[in-house]
């Protein structure tokens, strides 16, 4: 991070003395005192390029006018921003810029919010002296999502610089020279990039615009709502702009939200999902085996009556509930309260169970927090970043931008443990920025973590204070690791002990080190153990309680963290407190004026198992879709088919909703108010942008209405009232401020862990996984041996590890309803390393069959350099067929169902 200097500089701007930090640019110093110097190419996010020459100012004792966007302040400097000379300069630069401009403002989507218009209005006369022929670029097709109008371009290169400096994508470049300079992308086919929309947002004029809403609006006609994106755990601020009840566009202003105005494709282009024509318009009730429209009264009464009858007959534990983390905190809170008080059961679970819970449980176990002890600012400010099992660009793009900023702007050292390998592609690849990248089999990231810890304990890098404080703990870890010889570690990780040692040293040497652990670990077998080991790494190196250091598990869904804190999970009460935490129960009972159910909760897989066994009779499903998310092997369908009552609150008729007895149309995030809690534990306001679609209602309101019908009214006037109740109960929900106050680790918990807590599973956690089986860490190195192996494979296909995961362009299944995102990716294809593709003789678009004991699927191939040999990746958003091949195993401690990979044989069709 920029060494936060306290040194200041005094200068005078337009006669007013100002004091600003050393290094501040004149343009920023002026802005701070309310003086806006006109500019095009300057943007605070980008390195100064000073190409437009718009921001000229007079600085005393300098012979020429200076560009204020590239001149840092100096002690005693005297700046004039509005003298005759300066005004003349602004006027003349604008005259130049306008010379070749088509002046087609009436048909430009930027009209009304265009810097060129605004500055022209301020500085130029209404007629032009330019009598010559304007240069005209022939219109070129750019992309389905992004429109370019190069005649309007002022060549400020903000788009190009953004795409490189911030995104690390480098999809754009100026081409041609002089007035014939055009912004283009490479190659002849249409733009293929991350589609973050950043170039659209940062273009000061209408040269790059979105095609999703081309010519549909004039900016001043739009209504704006500031809210939070629902597509991943990063929790980006977005402004949804609407016309009537139509979503016109989404953007995010510079400086806004935790994302600082940056977005990814999902946030920028994915907004149409919520207004898809397939949205449920009214409640559906199953009559004669078919789901038919019904009124809310009919539907709710049916549910209430059936519930009352079932509860009488089978008791409250014949009920269970599942809720998606896409819901607001208010929905989640009311859901668990409804299940606990109205139904009387703790048998509830949610999508955090798919993996996020592993990180939360590890944090609670070792340091007594359920949230990060770091914030995004600490990522940007870190000296070392360790990324484990996260293809961060695709799962958490904005957290990824923080990592890129740390590395590219502030020279942080990046260490990565991931299956994907560094390779240039059409989207950015965090491994390309890594100083030490360890590419390992997707289910064995933990082995490299063991290697790093071994390097720490055997390289004399353990913090002295810790050795004194917890000698037995250090010894226990050292001892188990001594039993693993370096040769074995090297052979299963493909990393040399030297590389591990170097990475460990870099980690230890850093004053500020942040460890980011992603779904690649949290959603694979052993995830809980690896997350715990990463905390061991922080403890051993004396960093766990240092400011700016900590473990940050990346939440995949936008409100995974909120679901945990609202207690909408099997093991938690709101807080979260453990279900059997006496004090917490009493506090809750006092507040709710009602006793809490005593019997234990049930996790997703237990609920499904119990349903299959006939022990769960009724299931409430709010936004969750187990049939669409779990592999066939999990037998979710078989379980749900046995239910006597399945109630789904949904936006769409999902695979799960199709089986329901009652489907209740719910509002999307764009139609309701509330809060989301992002991956770093920041609570942010969700505000409705449009009226509810059809007869849909917010989830909490539906549950509240049901509670009334069932005789245990849980009533609130609006979402704010729910938040008020949450505030009384859960710390951290008081202020929706600009940056989260990060919790500190609880030293009493740490002490307990160091004394005894670690011991119960230290032996198991410090074991190599998958040792001995085929290894993809050293692709085709020993060529003779692997050639022989390959020769055998090709005949009857190739053995690969199939990994089904998140891609940049989608989020779950919801985004597959967004027309913008479907333009970029509308079907699944199998990503294969080009060498593997060659082995079976396939190229882009060719079809292949994947087979294993569980089933088979066919799909097309896409050659991807970043996929390592021996692995194949497939997007989970289109995994209908792929799910047939996947198997499930359940974490013995956290009950997380691991179901993201499988061994398969691949053959060409």
């Amino acid at each position: 991070m920029a060494t936060t200097t306290t040194e200041t500089v005094r200068l005078t701007i337009d006669g007013v003395p100002v004091t600003v930090p050393k290094g501040t640019l004149v343009i920023e110093a002026a802005r701070q005192m309310g003086v806006m110097i006109p500019h095009f190419c300057y943007h605070p996010k980008l390195k100064p390029d000073a190409n437009c020459r718009m921001c000229l100012v007079e600085i005393e004792r300098m012979p020429k006018l200076q560009t204020s966007c590239s001149t840092p302040v100096a002690e005693g400097m005297v700046v004039h921003t509005a003298t005759t000379v300066v005004n003349e300069a602004h006027k003349s630069v604008l005259e130049f810029i306008l010379a070749n401009h088509p002046l087609d403002c009436p048909v430009c989507d930027q009209g009304g919010r265009c810097d060129l218009q605004d500055f022209s209005h301020e500085y130029t006369p209404t007629t032009s002296r330019f009598l010559e022929v304007k240069r005209v670029f022939p219109k070129e097709y750019f992309s389905a999502l992004i429109e370019t109008q190069m005649n309007r371009c002022v060549q400020c290169l903000r788009c190009v610089r953004y795409c490189d400096e911030v995104m690390d994508v480098k999809a754009l470049a100026p081409s041609g020279r002089g007035t014939m300079t055009e912004i283009k992308h490479f190659t002849t086919h249409q733009l293929d990039c991350e589609f973050c929309g950043g170039c659209v947002q940062i273009c000061p004029v209408g040269a790059i615009t979105s095609r999703l809403d081309l010519y549909e609006f004039r900016p001043w006609m739009l209504k704006r709502a500031d809210t939070v994106c629902t597509y991943c755990g990063d929790g980006c601020h977005i402004t949804i702009q609407t016309k009537g009840n139509d979503l016109i566009e989404v953007n995010s202003a510079h400086g806004a939200g935790r994302n600082n105005g940056d977005l990814c494709a999902r946030g920028f282009f994915g907004y149409h999902a919520t207004t898809h024509p397939d949205r449920l318009q009214s409640p559906l009730l199953r009559r004669n085996g078919e789901l038919v429209p019904a009124t809310w009264e009919e539907a709710l009464e049916f549910v209430a009556e059936t519930c009352i009858a079932l509860k009488l007959k089978h008791g409250p534990d014949a009920f269970a509930g599942l809720i998606a983390s896409r819901c607001t905190n208010e929905d989640l809170y009311v859901f668990q309260k409804f299940m606990r008080l109205v139904i009387g059961t703790n048998r509830i679970d949610g999508s955090a169970r798919y993996g996020h819970i592993n990180g939360v449980r590890a944090l609670r176990r070792v340091q007594g927090t359920h949230r990060w002890t770091v914030a995004f600012e600490d990522i940007v400010g870190a000296e070392v970043l360790l990324l484990v099992g996260t293809n961060i660009t695709e799962t958490n793009p904005i957290t990824g931008l923080k990592v890129k900023e740390a590395v590219k702007k502030y020279n942080a050292t990046l260490l990565t443990i991931e299956a994907l390998v560094p390779a240039i592609g059409t989207i950015s690849n965090i491994a390309n920025l890594s100083a030490h990248h360890f590419s390992v089999h997707p289910e064995r990231f933990g082995n490299v973590v063991l290697g790093l810890i071994k390097a720490v304990v055997e390289g004399g890098l353990v913090a002295q204070t810790l050795t004194q404080r917890a000698p037995a703990y250090v010894e226990a870890i050292s001892q188990t690791l001594r039993a693993i010889p370096w040769e074995t570690l090297e052979s299963v990780t493909g990393a040399t002990s030297q590389a591990l040692m170097e990475a460990a040293r870099a980690f230890v040497a850093a004053r500020r080190a942040v460890v980011l652990v992603g779904q690649g670990v949290l959603r694979t077998p052993g995830g809980f153990g690896v997350a715990t080991n990463l905390l061991d790494l922080l403890l051993l190196t004396g960093k766990h309680d240092r400011p700016g250091c900590g473990l940050a598990p990346l939440a995949e869904e936008n409100n995974d963290q909120g679901a945990v804190e609202m207690g909408a999970l099997a093991e938690f009460l709101p807080g979260p407190s453990d279900l059997d935490d006496r004090a917490a129960r009493e506090r809750l009972a006092g507040l709710w004026k009602e006793e809490l159910p005593q019997r234990p909760g049930a996790t997703l897989m237990q609920i499904l198992g119990d349903a299959r066994a006939g022990n769960v009779k009724a299931l409430f499903v709010v936004g969750e879709n187990p049939i669409g998310s779990l592999p066939r092997a999990a037998q979710a369908k078989e379980a749900l088919e046995r239910l006597e009552l399945l109630v789904c609150q949904e936006l769409f008729l999902t695979d799960t909703a199709r089986l329901a007895h009652v489907v209740l149309p719910a509002c999307s995030y764009a139609e309701k108010d509330g809060t989301f809690t992002n991956t770093e534990g920041h609570v942010q306001a969700v505000r409705h942008a449009i009226d509810p679609i059809g007869e849909s209602r917010p989830d909490w309101e539906i549950l509240s209405a049901l509670s009334v019908l069932m005789g245990y009214p849980i009533e609130y006037g609006d979402a704010k009232e729910i938040l008020k109740e949450i505030r009384n109960l859960i710390p951290g929900y008081g202020l929706l401020g600009p940056a989260p106050a990060t919790p500190r680790s609880d030293e009493a918990v740490v002490e307990r862990y160091l004394r005894e807590g670690y011991a119960e599973d230290v032996g198991a956690r410090y074991q190599l996984t998958g040792a001995g089986s085929f290894d993809m860490a050293q692709p085709a190195t020993s060529s003779a041996e692997s050639d022989r192996r390959d020769a055998g494979k090709v005949k009857d296909g190739l053995q690969l590890t199939l990994v089904v995961g998140q891609t940049l362009f989608h989020s779950g299944k919801l985004s597959t309803r967004a027309k913008g995102l479907m333009e970029v990716q509308n079907a699944g294809s199998l990503g294969l390393n080009p060498s593997d593709a060659d082995r079976i003789g396939v190229t882009d678009g060719d079809r292949v069959r994947l087979v294993n004991q569980a089933g088979e699927m066919t799909t097309s191939v896409r050659r991807l350099d970043r996929v390592p040999e021996g692995m194949a990746v497939f997007p989970e958003h289109f995994d209908e067929e792929a799910r047939r091949l996947l198997t499930v195993s359940v974490d013995p401690v956290t009950q997380v169902p691991y179901c993201k990979s499988a061994k398969v044989r691949i053959e060409r069709l």
Binding site: A50, N51, K64, T67, A99, E132, R177, T179
Partner: protein, 434 residues
């Protein structure tokens, strides 16, 4: 005709001189390198160059020793030397001859400069069209490497000096030193905003010196014959040494003439270059490459040194002296140069990008008898609005021909405008009413 001792063209003008290593060694080549390597402290070499008064021959005329002195002192990382061999200024062709005819002379200069500034790597950035020069340099480099003048452990002194040749791809702007660096780095050749200067943030953001071919070629002689000797040539104290002037245009003997700085234009043109090619008298001189303001016959007695030419309102620039005879249209001459600048403006900054296109179109219009009197004011205004407001010196360069021809030959502009066909002019007014 007075004769002067030549320095840089001396070897190549000897009969039978091929420029091969053996020839160069025979006339004392690489002795200067032997003299400094490990024997004279690098700082003392820099001091020697400062003392000689050598100024850059690339265009700006910055004192070479002073430039070297800007490199950070207590810095131990890599530094670079870049030899600017992009010579693309219209009317300038001296570097080409120095490269093609006596490549080792400049290589020795590069090696000495590397040693002085502590650079282990030098890049020669050569204009893309110089394919013969590139081949000759590659061959010379191979010879020098084989003989141990270039490479690791040069002359067994433990000093490493590696020299690499990089060919440009046809952009005038890549001669501007920071655009050159960008291009060397594999990027689009666009000038950088200064500060920071190459001395601290040059190639790959490392301390870097950029020097012209001719500048560097002088170094062996300054070492061999001493800075005092060099400083006594030309018009000391500010313009020392010789310059290779590239004389072209309507004269009898176009070509490169190496003379001490300080002789007059009259002497250069009428004695050395043989005078005008025909009976027509001299009308105009471009004194220092396309970027320099035009001179008139009144300037014939101006001395060819940095100060005198600057004082007379132009610049010595790259040493390209173009002579035009009576009968040449000065508007046409300005247009011709403006076409060049319009073609070559990189487009990075608005005043130059848009200004060059505006200027060229207006000049074209005037030449085509479609001008209007107001155009002259607009032309002046545009030039004024470009001057000093651009990222690189190109902006200041492109306006020189327009402003100076307007200054001295305004009547020619007016005459063309008066000859404008009224209908044409009227037609053109229409689309301007936005």
């Amino acid at each position: 005709m007075p004769t002067y001792e030549k320095i840089l063209l001396k070897n190549m003008e000897m009969p039978g001189y091929t420029g091969l290593l053996a020839d160069y060694e025979r006339v004392g080549g690489y002795q200067a390198l032997r003299k400094v390597l490990g024997k004279i402290a690098p700082a003392d070499v820099t001091a020697m160059v400062t003392k000689s008064g050598l100024r850059g021959r690339g265009g700006a005329g910055f004192p070479t020793g002073v430039k070297w002195g800007f490199l950070p002192k207590d810095y131990t990382g890599p530094k670079y030397l870049c030899c600017n061999a992009d010579e693309s200024e219209p009317g300038t062709f001296k570097d080409r001859q120095l490269i093609e005819r006596d490549p080792h002379q400049m290589l020795e200069g590069i090696a000495i400069a590397c040693y002085a500034i502590g650079a282990e790597t030098a890049y020669i950035y050569i204009r893309g069209e110089f394919s013969l020069g590139a081949r000759i340099l590659e061959r010379a480099l191979a010879e020098a490497r084989a003989a141990g003048y270039v490479g690791t452990n040069v002359l067994r002194t433990g000093v490493n000096i590696d020299i690499w040749l990089h060919r440009g791809a046809g952009a005038y702007i890549c001669g501007e030193e920071t655009a050159l660096l960008e291009s060397l780095e594999g990027k689009r050749g666009l000038p950088r905003v200064k500060p920071p200067f190459p001395a601290t943030h040059g190639l790959y953001s490392k301390p870097t010196v950029v020097n012209n071919v001719e500048t560097l070629a002088n170094l062996p002689y300054i070492v061999n014959r001493g800075p005092e000797w060099f400083a006594s040539i030309g018009s000391p104290p500010k313009s020392t040494g010789t310059r290779v002037f590239c004389v072209s245009g309507h004269i009898k003997r176009p070509g490169n003439y190496e003379v001490p700085m300080g002789i007059t234009f009259r002497e250069l043109i009428f004695e050395h270059a043989g005078g005008m090619r025909s009976q027509k008298p001299l009308k105009a001189i471009i004194p220092g490459g396309a970027s320099a303001a035009f001179f008139t016959p009144q300037h014939l007695d101006v001395k060819l040194d940095f100060e005198s030419v600057a004082q007379a309102g132009s610049m010595l620039g790259s040493g390209g002296v173009t002579v035009m005879e009576e009968g040449t249209s000065m508007v046409w001459a300005a247009l011709r140069l403006m076409e060049f600048f319009y073609h070559e403006s990189c487009g990075k900054c608005s005043p130059c990008r848009e200004g060059s296109s505006w200027l060229v179109q207006t000049l074209r219009r005037i030449i085509n008898r479609r001008g209007r009197m107001e155009d002259l004011e607009t032309l002046t205004d545009l030039c004024k609005n470009i001057a000093g407001r651009t990222v690189c010196a190109f902006g200041d360069a492109e306006i020189a021909p327009v402003l100076s021809t307007l200054q001295y030959w305004r009547d020619e502009y007016e005459e063309l405008i008066r000859a404008a066909e009224p209908s044409g002019a009227a037609e053109l007014v229409m689309p301007a009413r936005h």
